[in-house]
């Protein structure tokens, strides 16, 4: 259909009822509706900072709806915070905010929520680093070439791994309803963590006499495939499996990254590098905490716990051997770590890695025990180092 001429469009907008109202100097319904009993949601709230500051916990304390309910979300902005307009009927609501392709896709607690969501979101924000300002870049210590090369390769691997997490998790946030504000915030902070750390590591690599190292082919080791299957390419009016992604990225992959970061922190030869790696330890541990709480909540509240557990076990069955082969055993990961841990003596560092190895599966399995997804009898990450 041809567009109307510009003059016609301008004339129509000039005569629009809202334009006429603005010209008359009247304020709209948002200002005239009664503060109590009308369209206005709530009034008279006076949240006070808690022991940490003005947190989500502090505002939830005075909110009429401190936690999201399981009522279907009829509109994007209809949440535990904001009333729906009485004059908008369900048919109109569906047109305003269709279920699929919007933040209404995931609007049930079992799909999204976690215990103590507010606290974890605040922790994520509180423990973020500001690399350009907080770190003392002038204190960076020059390292012997072999140690610098090892650190740079380890950092290159981490950057690749963190971007992978960011890319896999990112698109999901737009599908989570605004009623789950703490979760949306946490996931945004998680993306921020990944990208902050990638930028920080790259700055570090480029600032101490070395440079970016060697890419690791196939590092995703099944992750991308699992995430694509779970999202169904974000196409179509279908249920998507957010829990599979959370399990893969937050519980399993971040769990492995946490152990790698602990090793990296232990092997860091300078105070500056240790600081970076400790930040990564904290970040990964927090992402793991989110993943564990999410899966735990999901299993306790989903319609069919048994079916949900079977699906998650199948994801783990696929990923554990691939992650072991292409990630944990990658020489581009292990060898630089061994050099760092051994202080240039790779063989000594390899002995440390061999002794550490059982923790990859031990800690992961202990978390799964805690969240009700025990798989000690079928875990495919070797309990002992295969080298």
């Amino acid at each position: 259909m041809p567009l109307p001429p510009p003059e016609e469009v301008k004339a129509k907008l000039y005569e629009h009822s809202e334009a006429q109202r603005i010209r008359s100097g009247q304020l709209g319904e948002w200002f005239t509706t009664p503060l109590v009993g009308g369209e206005w949601t709530e009034w008279g709230k006076r949240a006070r900072p808690d022991r940490i500051g003005m947190t989500f916990m502090a505002i939830n304390r005075v909110s009429a709806n401190p936690e999201p309910t399981n009522e279907p979300a009829r509109r994007l902005m209809h949440s535990r915070y904001i009333k729906t307009h009485h004059a908008i009927d369900p048919e109109m609501e569906e047109k305003i905010a269709p279920k699929y392709g919007t933040a209404r896709e995931m609007d049930r607690r079992d799909q999204v929520w976690i215990d103590h969501a507010a606290e974890l979101a605040e922790e994520a924000l509180d423990r973020q680093i500001r690399p350009a300002r907080q770190l003392h870049w002038e204190d960076m210590t020059p390292l012997p070439d072999d140690l610098e090369r090892a650190f740079d390769q380890f950092a290159t691997y981490l950057i690749q791994a963190l971007y992978l997490c960011s890319d896999a998790s990112g698109p999901w946030n737009g599908l989570i309803h605004y009623g789950f504000a703490e979760i949306k915030s946490f996931l945004a902070y998680e993306l921020f963590d990944y990208n902050l750390m990638c930028g920080l590591l790259r700055k570090r690599v480029m600032a101490n006499g070395g440079g970016m190292g060697v890419q690791i082919d196939g590092l995703d080791a099944g992750l991308i495939e699992v995430c694509n299957e779970a999202s169904r390419g974000f196409v179509g009016e279908v249920e998507r499996e957010f829990s599979s992604v959370v399990f893969a990225i937050d519980v399993l992959f971040n769990g492995l990254l946490l152990e790698m970061a602990r090793l990296g922190s232990a092997g860091a030869r300078s105070r500056f590098d240790r600081h970076l790696m400790t930040q990564l330890v904290q970040d990964c541990a927090r992402h793991v905490a989110f993943g564990c709480r999410r899966i735990s909540f999901y299993l306790r509240n989903c319609p069919d716990r048994e079916e949900a557990a079977v699906k998650l076990h199948l994801v783990a069955d696929r990923l554990e051997p691939l992650q072991t082969e292409h990630h944990l055993l990658s020489p581009k990961v292990l060898e630089p770590l061994a050099i760092l841990l051994g202080g240039s003596a790779a063989s000594q560092g390899m002995r440390v890695l061999r002794e550490f190895w059982p923790q990859f599966s031990d800690n992961y399995l202990a978390r799964l025990d805690a969240i009700g997804l025990a798989r000690r009898d079928r875990c495919l990450i070797p309990a002992e180092a295969p080298f």
Binding site: R127, L263, R274, T278, A285, C292, V352, Q359, R367, A370
Partner: protein, 152 residues
């Protein structure tokens, strides 16, 4: 005037660390808030195995008390940091000598292989709080650099 020397391990020693933490709110705000119930367990001291329960909340350590061996579970710790007296003593001395733990004496390094220190607990998702808030716990233990410490 410097504080009188206190013995390690003792509730007074941990109380001095707590007092230093609580006096430096801005420093601990930079790390982020802490929420943890922790046990520091020192095995094989001349007075036997000793354990101290500490509660961290916000930017403070709000409780320190010595625990009987039978009271560890009822303290309901998120994590227990445990090791032999000799390892603890070496760590405290190292922190005193350097003003903070050096590369070989950080909590993470000492716990990495489960020896000489080990961090553990009943529920791994609660043990992970140790890693989530590691900067704060390392800074807390590094406060011992300013504490005049004697050893039994």
């Amino acid at each position: 005037m410097a504080n009188p020397a206190v013995e390690f391990p003792s509730a007074q020693w941990f109380e001095q660390l707590a007092a230093r933490m609580n006096d430096q709110r801005a420093k601990y705000q930079n790390f982020g808030f802490v929420t943890a119930r922790a046990i520091f367990k020192i095995n094989g001291t001349p007075r036997g195995d000793r354990a101290f329960g500490l509660v961290f909340d916000g930017f403070e350590c709000v409780e320190v008390r010595e625990l009987d061996q039978g009271a560890l579970a009822s303290f309901d710790p998120d994590w227990i940091l445990e090791g032999d007296y000799a390892a603890w003593k070496e760590m405290v001395r190292n922190i005193k000598a350097h003003g903070e733990a050096d590369a070989d004496h950080t909590l993470n390094r000492l716990c990495l292989l489960g020896h000489p220190l080990k961090v553990h607990g009943e529920d791994q998702t609660r043990v992970d709080i140790f890693y989530r808030q590691l900067f704060s716990f390392q800074a807390f233990i590094d406060e011992s650099a300013a504490v005049e410490t004697t050893f039994t």
